[in-house]
């Protein structure tokens, strides 16, 4: 099997194997570690072998359902590489951090499954394949919340699932519609991205189909006003699921906008861009301000994630090279930071059995290392210099100013928004005198440090030497810009 | 000649349907089902004789065989159901319904 297929199918096969072969939980964890480590190794090799200047690489093409033009068609470029790497890096680290906590087979099996699903969705270039993996990655999360979640988990996971499936079905309809249109125009069926982008649609058709896709992505990201599943779901989800959702799946929504919508409906994307920039900016401020009043840590971080994802959407729809590179960079940067933060919230809950900000406090005194890392990752979300988020935000703001000076000013408020709630939260959770809940707070254990230190170093490296990472993304962005030859928006 | 057989068959079938719908005892319901089967058997045999074609008679013999095995199955079901609820009232066994 070639590289990309290993990335996609090794975790899925391992998950199915573990599902049918009931063995000791310790062995399950070992197999999990083994598989994710192999994936990490293969991804690192992919990163090293990746040629920044080639458009789409490691392409694999195998005929699957010939009559309907559905094929196994995968490939990687600068933007998908980022998510692949994040997926590969985060999954083993999650296990390193949590291996003592979770003694359920299903937990690890579902995580493996979702890893394969995400890889597949990121890498596929065939719309049917993409739809398949898009749904595959949803199901494990549904079960994880339902089985291992907190609070009203059944209601929440149902709501999340219904919401997401509503979107994906609209997307499926859109996919089938354009495939049929392709058949009418070219005489054969095809679901390949590169074939489908050649079809011509009237503007009404194109807007309808666009909306079908956009609904799926907007729900997954989420964009205002499709966000109401978010904070409840994050609140109920177990740590592993919430990391996958915030760090990877939400990013997949933004990634899919770039990969599919911009390729398939170039003109429509342009025509509607101002609305989505507006929605994105509104979401950025709306979610940020909403987060100020949250009392529950996970809900606060959920809204914080949503705020940043709205910023990513803005960066994509601005559609110049700074915005595109900035957004792609922010996807990766925010994935690391939010994964680390949710991981730490998980540790916090394990120690204190609470998620409420008001009942915490004084952790810095009893657990300095925990406080250090927690503050570091929280600040990296705020986007202080020397962290990856800062680079990405500067680029998006630059792109926004390039688009329009007023949009630029509103986008620049991102450096204020996250601060509004993050600093108060840091003060309340970490500082002050320890109380009854936190006075016996155990500092980070060795295995938890093993999980967090690489993430922290990565955030720093991406903030201090961004050029080394961005040179992999930039040619892809340039390629997109050139391919479009879009008339540049006048200021 | 056929017409009379058919009328008898229809009468039997109607009795079966009415019994199936209106009676509550499971055993009686089962008897009604048997009646339905036999009505069909009767018409099959009559049509077969009328058309001088034996295949319908073969079919009806198979139906009788199946009905016999059904009888065994039903008997055991009655026992299980009666053990569960100490009653054979069909209205009690409505777990498939959407009542909350």
């Amino acid at each position: 099997m070639s590289t990309l297929s290993i990335l996609i199918f090794l975790p899925i096969i391992a998950a199915i194997f573990l599902f049918f072969v009931r063995i000791n939980i310790q062995i399950v964890k070992v197999i999990y570690m083994l598989v994710t480590s192999i994936i990490l190794y293969v991804s690192l090799k992919l990163y090293v072998d990746f040629d920044p200047n080639a458009p789409m690489q490691f392409v694999e093409y195998k005929v699957w359902i010939y009559e309907y033009g559905i094929n196994y068609f995968v490939g990687v470029d600068g933007v998908s590489l980022g998510i692949v790497m994040m997926n590969a890096i985060l999954m083993p680290l999650v296990a390193v951090a949590l291996y003592k906590q979770r003694d359920k087979h299903g937990y690890w099996i579902h995580l493996l499954f979702v890893q394969g699903g995400i890889m597949g969705a990121v890498l596929s270039l065939d719309l049917m394949l993409f739809y398949l993996f898009w749904e595959v990655m949803l199901l494990p999360i549904f079960f994880m919340i339902g089985l291992f979640g907190f609070g009203r988990k059944n209601f929440v996971t149902m709501k999340f699932n219904m919401y997401t499936i509503l979107g994906s079905l609209m997307m499926l309809i859109s996919i089938l519609y354009i495939a049929v249109q392709y058949k009418e125009q070219f005489g054969v069926y095809s679901f390949s991205l590169y074939d489908l982008k050649n079809i011509t649609l009237s503007s009404t058709q194109s807007i309808l189909v666009f909306s079908g896709f956009m609904l799926a992505f907007a729900i997954k990201i989420p964009i205002f006003p499709f966000h109401t599943w978010l904070s409840e779901t994050y609140r109920s989800a177990p740590t592993g699921a919430v990391i996958v959702m915030s760090a990877l799946m939400a990013k997949l929504g933004t990634y899919a906008i770039w990969r599919f919508l911009f390729t398939l409906f170039n003109e429509t994307s342009h025509a509607v861009a101002p609305y989505f920039i507006g929605l994105g900016l509104f979401g950025l401020i709306f979610f940020g301000i909403s987060a100020m009043n949250q009392t529950h840590l996970k809900k606060m971080f959920a809204l914080s994630s949503a705020s940043h994802l709205s910023l990513i959407v803005v960066g994509f729809f601005i559609y110049d090279v700074y915005g595109l590179v900035g957004s792609s960079y922010l996807m990766v940067a925010h994935a690391i930071s939010s994964a680390a933060l949710f991981l730490m919230v998980g540790m916090l809950f394990e120690r204190t059995k609470t998620h409420y900000i008001a009942s915490l406090g004084g952790i810095a005194k009893v657990a300095p290392r925990f406080a250090l890392f927690f503050a570091f990752f929280a600040l990296s979300i705020v986007g202080v210099p020397l962290t990856a988020g800062f680079v990405a935000e500067v680029l998006i703001i630059l792109g926004a100013f390039n688009y329009n000076i007023y949009i630029g000013f509103i986008t620049a408020t991102t450096i204020l928004i996250a601060m509004l709630f993050m600093f108060k939260m840091i003060s309340k959770v970490l500082f002050g005198e320890p109380n009854e809940v936190t006075k016996n707070f155990q500092d980070l254990r060795l295995h938890e440090l093993f999980a967090l230190v690489p993430l922290a170093l990565l955030v720093l490296a991406m903030g201090i030497f961004p050029n080394y990472f961005i040179k992999n993304i930039e040619p892809t962005a340039q390629f997109y810009i050139l391919e479009k030859e879009v008339p540049k928006n006048d200021k | 000649m056929l017409q009379e057989y058919m009328i008898l068959s229809i009468i039997l079938f109607c009795i079966g349907v009415v019994g199936l719908i209106s009676r509550r005892n499971i055993i009686v319901i089962y008897m009604s089902i048997e009646l339905l089967l036999n009505a069909v058997n009767l018409s099959l045999v009559a049509i077969s004789a009328d058309m001088a074609d034996a295949s319908a008679q073969v079919m009806s013999i198979i139906i009788i065989a199946i009905a016999a095995s059904e009888a065994a199955l039903f008997m055991s079901l009655f026992v299980v159901l009666f053990k569960k609820k100490s009653s054979l009232d069909a209205n009690i066994f409505d777990m498939l319904g959407s009542k909350r």
Binding site: P225, T228, A364, A412, I415, L420, K424, N467 | M95, S98
Partner: protein
Amino acid sequence: MSDSLILNILLLSPLLSATLIFLLNISISGVKQYIYTSLALAGSGISALLALYLSYFSYFENQVFTSHLFTWLSIEDFIVEVALKADALSSFMILFIAPVSFLIHVYASGYMNKDKSYGRFFAYFNLFIFFMFLLVLADNPIIMFIGWEGVGLTSYALIGFYFEDIKNTYAGNKAFIANRVGDFGFLSALMLLFLEIGSGGMSFDAILSNIGQIEAPMLSLIAFLLFVGAMGKSAQIPLFVWLPDAMAGPTPVSALIHAATMVTAGVYMVARFAPLYNLTFDVSLFIAYIGAFSALFAAIVATRQFDIKKILAYSTMSQLGFMFMALGVGAYSTALFHMFTHAFFKALLFMGAGAIIVAFHHKQDIRELRGIKESMPALFVMILIATLTISAIPPLSAFFSKDAIMSALYASGHAPLFLMAFTASLLTVFYMFRLVFVVFYSNTKQVGEANSKSMLYPMTVLTIFSIFAGLLNMPEIFGGNLNMSNWLDIADKKFIVTHFDELMLMSINTLAIIGVIFYTYKRYAYTNTIDKESEHTLVANKFYIDEIYSAVVVKPLYALSILFDKHISNNLIDNTIHNLALYYEKLGLLFSGFENGNVRNYALYMLVGAVSGFIYLYVLLRAAL
């Protein structure tokens, strides 16, 4: 040693020592204190020595040191190099930043003695110096912005250093948030600058040589936004609210960050963009007036404060106002000169205040610190000299710098500016001597603990600097030749003041100051006037600025948060969705009555279905039959 190596070591040695201390501190507990001390002093000492070396060559041989480390970002035209450049202005900045930092390090090793977070303190402290060097040595404004935010971040960490009291961390939050509002302006300005002329390169030289290409309104906007950054960092109206609260940090922090170095970054930045501000008169004038109002406002508030550090904090804000006045009228090197002298005497004042605070077990209220002259004579002399310096008594250093500002304001022809500056400078004398007379000249006597030598020696050095720093930029009238201004070679506006006018100004000024000192002496020395001053007046409550901000900014934001989260997200959107689901369910209930689990009913439905099927077939086939 090559030029670039010197710069790199100068920049990175504090970072290295900060990293080492940090790693030691979090990985091993119970590290001996002297290890931290030596690491911290080595980090700052090396850079102090190199800074002196650098400014020596810059001053005498006009040498420009450059260093290129790596490329930070390169996307299309947006090419940001991590490059350092020590031209005259940067050399001048590190000339006082590095030595003062080193001295305050020495002082802090005494002040923080036996503190349980000793290591953490020095890690942050050295990290701060690193960011400060990055700020002043950066060759392009983006890297400068990284340093700019970095000092804000370390300042946040140090203000909230004693985090057990959550109020301290709130003060840190306030500082960082106010600073970031400024950074919002700064960053926007940088983005606009790049989009206008960035293709020519983002180094300061390239930008400043290309600013002529920008149209006037855009240039004004950029200049204004840059100044918003300066407002935040240098605590000017309206973003000053954080500075008084920032005094929650340990006193060495206040001395280094909130008096001598970080808060002057705004002045440095405006001076750095001097050619830009020379083209935008309206913005320059705006800066001058903001400076004037800040100077006056802070001076007024300082007259009714009781916390020794808060008085000094407002004094810092007031002195920064003076600098911005000078910047606004185009006397850039004069402003820098005052910044230079201010760094020494204000650091000295803070260190003196810190020494008193340590000696009297963290009492900070001047009403409780009365009559301590006899027990600490050396401290008294040093604080008195610093107070005379800030009051601009000749021939102490600030006399020259402040006088240069006053004559520049006088010559610029903006009478309101001059009058405000004059009033503020007299108020400065008043509140400083109020402090001195209340604390040292009292009928009651107190004895505090003796201060350690590591605290007193740096103060002695700074006292000497405070006295003589004025020599660097002697005006012609005293036989000097403005060495510093010539060295810096900034695009100053030239003001012509006749020697007679200048002498007149000086003498009036000095006489007025001496008059104020006498008045203050009468009022506060050996009296109880201070006890009669109420804490509840408008002035003592800082004109209720904090309360106004809370009512105008903070509370509405929280109200908005509740509106967004509870009303829009939950009630409007989520309830709509839930209701949709509910109606759908109700619709289902309507039909689910049929499905009651009763087999006989199902048979009936079958019958009904079959019969209606038959009827349909009959109707359909009737014609054929």
